[in-house]
Every structure is written in C-alpha cells, then in structure tokens.
C-alpha cells in the first residue's frame, strides 16, 4: 500500500494541477477573509465589528469558503485516470482496483493536510494583519482555535469526498461542473427553502462543524464532523464498488 500511495503522490506532484489549486484555495480563502474584515462593523452588510468573537470566528473560518476547490482536487485525482486513459496501466499494475481507490483516498487525505495547513497559515496571517490594523488581532485560543482546526479538517475531508465522487462519475468535466453546481446552487437553494434537509447535506454538516454560532437547524459540531466524514467515506466506498465493476476500455 505504501508503494501505491507513493505512486499517487508521484501522479499528483508530477503535473502542475496541484499548484494551481493550492493557489486558488489560498486566494479564495484570503479574499473571503479580506472582505469579511473590510466590511466588519458595517451595519448595512451585517458583519459584526472587529474584536467581537463572531467576527473573529467568521474571518478565521474563511478557508471553508474554498472547500469546493479541494473537492475539485480530489475529483481530478481520480478522473484524470479516465480522462488521460492512464486507468489502463494503473489497473494493469494493480488489478485489485479497490486497492487503487484506497491508495488514492489515503494519498489525497495525507497530501491535503499540508495544503490545509498552508491555506490556514496564510489566511490567519492576513486576518491577523488586517484585523490588527483595524484594532484587534484575534487570539488563537478557545473557540477561535476550534474554528481554525475544524475548517482545516473540512478542507481535508472535502478532498476525500472529491476522490470518491471522481471514482463514481469518472467524467472529469461532468464531475467538476456537477460538484460546482451542487455546492454553489443546489445547496444554496436547499439551505434557503428546505432548512431541515440542508442540516443533513455536506454543506450543513460543514457549517455545523466549522461555525460556532450555530443556528437552531444545524447539528452539533461533532455530529457535523462525523456526517461530513461519512459523506467522504460513502462516496469513496460507492466509487470503489463502481470502479471495480466497470469495464476499462
């Protein structure tokens, strides 16, 4: 399994996709933090003022705005095999395809950790600088620290979900477009009109996990974390079953 994980890392780091996505995730997260800080205390926007716990958790939770790009990273990880037809040599080398998917899950989960750390460090540095300039540097303790850790965790889990979705859908463009539409359109609509359902969707679970000032509809933090992890493993399991059964031609 070590060799298979190393093979997946070799695939990931011998093209430039990871650089683009890492920059994208960081940019999106920083942008979200900057906007949150810029409008903090503006009554027309509704962001609480700098120095309040609510503002600090919102700003420090900015990486959760970029989870969709980690989803894309995971999706590309599996779908590139089909897009570039490397699934053939991959499954020839490892005929037990479940092992390939398991190695991808492990490789991408592990690779996502330094990604998440990098995004978190950059974002928190920007928040510290900008919020400091506006009056108060958020302390990384208590609820603040919890937000930082859980958002980083969410980045990792979304990568795992992406690997599973990719194994399930196989078509790269279809999987990415579907993922974006789901995250940005479907979940938004469900959140607005079907709050009870949203609670149980990945977005609801993500919100429960990362946001401390919870609305009444959301699960407990640990429940949200478990549910999100469940989505990741569920997608991976389904993806594995499909990958094993389908013909590679």
């Amino acid at each position: 399994m070590t060799g298979l994980v190393r093979a997946e890392w070799a695939k990931l780091f011998t093209t430039r996709v990871w650089i683009g996505l890492l920059l994208g995730v960081t940019a999106l997260s920083v942008l979200s933090a900057v906007i949150t800080t810029a409008f903090a205390g503006d009554p027309t926007v509704g962001v609480p003022p700098v120095g309040t716990p609510l503002y600090e958790q919102l700003a420090l939770g900015s990486p959760s705005q970029a989870v969709v790009l980690m989803l894309v990273l995971g999706i590309i990880g599996t779908t590139q095999e089909y897009r570039h037809r490397t699934a053939t040599p991959t499954f020839l080398t490892t005929p037990r395809r479940g092992r390939v998917i398991a190695a991808k899950l492990l490789a991408y989960a592990l690779a996502a950790v330094p990604f998440a750390v990098a995004v978190t460090v950059v974002t928190d540095a920007v928040v510290a600088g900008y919020a400091g300039a506006r009056g108060a540097v958020p302390e990384l303790t208590g609820d603040n620290l919890r937000v930082v850790v859980t958002t980083a965790l969410a980045l990792v889990v979304y990568t795992v979900i992406g690997v599973g979705v990719g194994a399930l859908v196989r078509n790269q463009v279809g999987a990415i477009v579907g993922g974006l539409v789901y995250v940005f359109v479907v979940e938004g609509l469900v959140r607005t009109f079907l709050g009870a359902v949203y609670t149980w969707l990945p977005g609801g679970a993500l919100e429960a996990l990362t946001v401390t000032f919870q609305g009444p509809d959301l699960l407990e933090r640990w429940q949200g974390g478990l549910l999100l992890l469940g989505y990741g493993l569920g997608a991976a399991l389904l993806g594995t079953l499909f990958a094993v059964r389908r013909d590679v031609s």
Partner: protein
C-alpha cells in the same frame, strides 16, 4: 537502440534485465478458453479459445471489429468476460502475485500529456514496487533515453508506442501482450520492433502475443497465428501451416492461349483467361501445366507460380462476417496445441 536488453555497466538494477537466457523469467504459457462478451445487444467475442506458447511470437489477427482488443482486455482483467477465462500458467491475471512481473501489456498509447516519460514510468515503478532506476533502463531499451524528460504530450505517435512498450517492459515480464504496436511507427521503427519482439521470444524464451489487423504487417515477425473473425476463432496454428493451406495459382502466357485453355479444360483443370491473353490456372503445379502444353505442342512464353497466397488466405478467412458468424467455431489446426 539496442536489441539485446543490455543498457549499461552492471549494477544491482542491471540484474533485473535479462542479459542471458538464465536470467529470463521462467516460460509462461497463456491459455484462453471460452471467452464470451456482449456489449448490450452486440456480441463482441464468442467462445474464443486459444493458447499462446512461450519462445514464439504469436500473431493475433483479425479485421477491425473482430474482437481483438476486447479479448486482450478480458485476458488482462480490464474487461469482465460474460463467460470463459484466460490464465497465465494456470493463474488468472488478477490473481497473479506480481502481475507486471509476469505480464507486460501495450494496450494504450495515451499518457498524461503534462507528465514526462520518466515520471510516467516512475509512477508505475512505485505502484509495482520496482526500483525507480528501472524507468531509465526501459527508456534506453526502447530508444527513448534522450527524450526521457520531455512531456509525453509532445511525443509523436511512434514515440508514444515506444513509451507504452517501455511501460510494459518495466517488470521484466515473461509474457508480452501488444495491441497493434506498429500503429504510428515509421518503417525503421517497425523494423526495430520486429527484431525486438523476435529477440524477446527466440533468444529469451518469452511469450509474445501481438495483435494486428494486417497479416502483411506481422507476417515476417510471427511464428504462430491466431486468427479471429466476428469474435470467433477462425484459425490457430503455425505460419507454416497457414502457408501450406495456400492454394497456389499459376500464370501462363502463350501465343495460342485459346488452344492451351481448351487443352487444360479438357483435362479438367480450372482456367481463367485475362484480357491480355494471359491464363490463370488454379490448383496445379507449373510442371504439370508445362508438360501438358509440351504434349500438345503448344509454345509457352511464361509460366509463373503466383506467390501472394498467404494474404489471400487471410482475406478469405476473415472476410464475410456473416459466413463466420453462422459457422460452427473452427477447429484449431492440427498440432496447434
């Protein structure tokens, strides 16, 4: 380009490459039996069975759409057969303890366009637990040593064929399976591939199965043939056996073609006349035709056996899908197993 598999000074990894018959992995016989596969309502392969022997190059021939690629993919566990199985010394591909060390396959000439050839090969070194240095060795073996750092996306089709072959060679396998490997190769490349495959089979005792839709393309390379048409076995045997089935014809020219045709027809011999007066005689030797003409006192200007029988046999065997779809599966040529 070197054909002998040696790449450089001896070191630890060097031992992975066979340099003498003693280093070659043990001979592995491939057996295919009863393979059947439908895609929806379309029957791609029907009860296909044949064997591939070590120490020889076996041509897997048939027109496009005959089910060659599907068969190869079923043999290698990529496509799930409806029925039947393929085994390598009795073991199905998916159950082999070290699949790439037993079987190397060239099925696909597609690569991630942004990844270099070296990195492509290293991925599979990691996955198969082979030393990364194997990548350099197989690149040298197929003559891509100088292009190792270039993106595979910038490769020509011929170079991609070589890179695919390099991938297949990574595990130093006893069996090599190649799907249309000559596609995109220039004449020099085809010549090289020919020598390379024959070397692997004849000098090193490996089992080589190479598919093609053109007999002429592999005629000089293969020792045995497995011919399929419309997903069924049409013929299995040695090239010599295939050749012996060639029904020769003889071209005859004479200043008296009409009288000669009359004489030959009178002896119950089939004769066809061309517009320019030449006669084509089927199924008789030049000697017999010559002596009959001599006996009748007819002058001959040309008496030439027609040599392209093999291509005609292949065409006859594989043309007319309906004919073969309706026929019972052909029995293997005697002595094929």
């Amino acid at each position: 380009m070197r054909l002998d598999g040696r790449t450089g000074p001896a070191d630890d990894e060097e031992r992975a490459i066979p340099t003498a018959p003693t280093r070659v992995p043990g001979p592995v016989r491939v057996e295919v039996s009863g393979l059947t596969k439908s895609f929806g309502a379309v029957r791609a392969v029907t009860e296909l069975g044949f064997t591939v022997e070590p120490g020889a190059v076996t041509g897997f021939l048939g027109p496009n759409g005959a089910g060659k690629t599907t068969t190869l993919r079923m043999m290698l566990g990529l496509v799930r057969p409806d029925q039947g199985a393929a085994t390598f010394d009795g073991v199905p591909y998916a159950a082999l303890p070290h699949p790439v060390r037993t079987v190397g396959a060239v099925l696909e000439t597609a690569f991630h366009p942004a990844r270099s050839a070296r990195n492509h090969l290293r991925v599979y070194c990691h996955a198969a637990g082979l030393p990364p240095a194997r990548a350099e060795q197989v690149l040298a073996q197929v003559g891509l040593g100088d292009a190792a750092g270039r993106r595979a996306g910038a490769y020509s089709l011929g170079m991609r064929q070589r890179l695919a072959l390099a991938t297949a060679l990574l595990g130093d396998p006893a069996v090599l399976v190649l799907d249309e490997p000559a596609n995109g190769l220039d004449p020099e490349g085809i010549q090289w591939l020919r020598g390379f495959l024959r070397h692997l089979a004849h000098e090193e005792g490996r089992t080589v199965l190479v598919s093609s839709h053109l007999l002429s393309e592999v005629e000089q390379t293969v020792d045995r043939v497995v011919i399929v048409g419309a997903g069924r076995l049409v013929r299995e045997g040695s090239m010599a056996q295939l050749r012996s089935g060639a029904e020769g014809s003889v071209l005859v020219r004479s200043p008296e073609p009409a009288r000669l045709a009359e004489v030959l027809r009178g002896a119950g011999i089939a004769v066809t006349a061309a517009e320019d007066g030449a006669l084509t005689v089927l199924g008789r030797s030049s000697a017999e035709i010559g002596s009959r003409a001599f006996a009748a006192g007819i002058e001959l200007h040309e008496l030439r056996p027609h040599a392209s029988g093999l291509e005609e046999i292949y065409f006859r065997l594989t043309s007319g899908r309906e004919q073969f779809a309706a026929a019972a599966p052909a029995a293997p040529v005697e002595g094929a197993r």
